[in-house]
């Protein structure tokens, strides 16, 4: 079964200094805290990702703050202009203390 926090990063082919698209996906319920369990009628507690950080070779290149209005299993894309080959590391942090990471190798051709 798909597990919360499973994440994937795809980076397009990279040329030195040229922006290339980074696409990311993470499995997460993104519960707003407003929904009720249809069976029990009880409120489902809020559980959503608040922060996303992206570091390329240890240096921050992009950061995002999310509210509860980001869709379930959040997708996000942005750009990276690498000067050299390296590792892109992303970290997702949710409001219940969950921290998830994924990495992608970026090869500058």
């Amino acid at each position: 079964m798909a597990k919360t926090g499973t994440a994937r990063i795809r980076v397009g082919s990279a040329q030195k200094g040229q922006p290339t698209q980074v696409r990311s996906l993470i499995l997460h319920p993104m519960e707003t805290g407003l929904r009720k369990d249809p069976k029990t009628g009880e409120k489902i507690p809020a559980h959503y990702i608040q922060k996303v950080k992206a570091d390329f070779n240890g240096e921050r290149v992009f950061e995002a703050d999310w509210s509860v209005a980001i869709s379930k299993n959040p997708y996000m894309s942005y750009y990276l202009a690498p000067q050299s080959s390296g590792t892109l590391k992303m970290t997702w942090e949710d409001n219940q203390g969950g921290t998830y990471t994924a990495e992608a190798e970026v090869k500058v051709g």
Binding site: P19, T32, D37, E59, F62, D65, S67, I70, S71, P74
Partner: protein
């Protein structure tokens, strides 16, 4: 830093001082990179995300509720069949290093402020994600420049099934 308990005389003091001096010199010579990436830890804007109503949300998020039309484009579907998953793309025709942040608002959501993106070093001012919409509403994308100007683009998205119900 090394700490010694047994010999706290003049010699060890000088040794420690010497070591510190070396570190300072290394930092000065650029051998140790300044930790720019840590400085980029932006505080999570909880209050702004909780703010109700467009004006209050924009004020809380950006310190102003006014932004100039233009320089920003917002791609989103005209009709969204499923309000739970509405794909959006915000971009700007300004230079990449001029755009500091993108702010996304959904006017009629209970709390309009949806997301904030920090373009620390991305090379192109463009970002995409998928958002939830409770009902038909305007989406507003705002680009905040490094010199503190705000530019916006607005697009109405018609929602046939709301995305916030159970």
């Amino acid at each position: 830093m090394r700490v010694t308990n047994d010999n706290t005389g003049r010699r060890s003091f000088l040794k420690t001082l010497g070591a510190t001096g070396a570190v300072v010199a290394a930092a000065g010579a650029g051998l140790m990179k300044p930790v720019k990436s840590l400085a980029a830890n932006f505080q999570y804007p909880k209050k702004a995300f909780d703010a109700e109503g467009m004006d209050a949300a924009m004020q809380a998020a950006m310190g102003t509720s006014s932004a100039t039309e233009g320089n920003v484009s917002l791609k989103a579907p005209t009709i969204a069949e499923n309000g739970a998953v509405v794909p959006i793309t915000a971009s700007s025709d300004l230079d990449a290093d001029k755009v500091a942040k993108f702010h996304i608002f959904v006017a009629k959501n209970p709390a309009p402020y949806t997301a904030r993106f920090h373009m620390v070093g991305t090379g192109r001012p463009e970002v995409s994600t998928r958002i939830k919409m409770g009902e038909t509403s305007n989406i507003v994308a705002v680009a905040e420049t490094t010199d503190g100007k705000f530019y916006k683009a607005t697009k109405e998205v018609r929602v046939t099934i709301g995305g916030c119900g159970g």
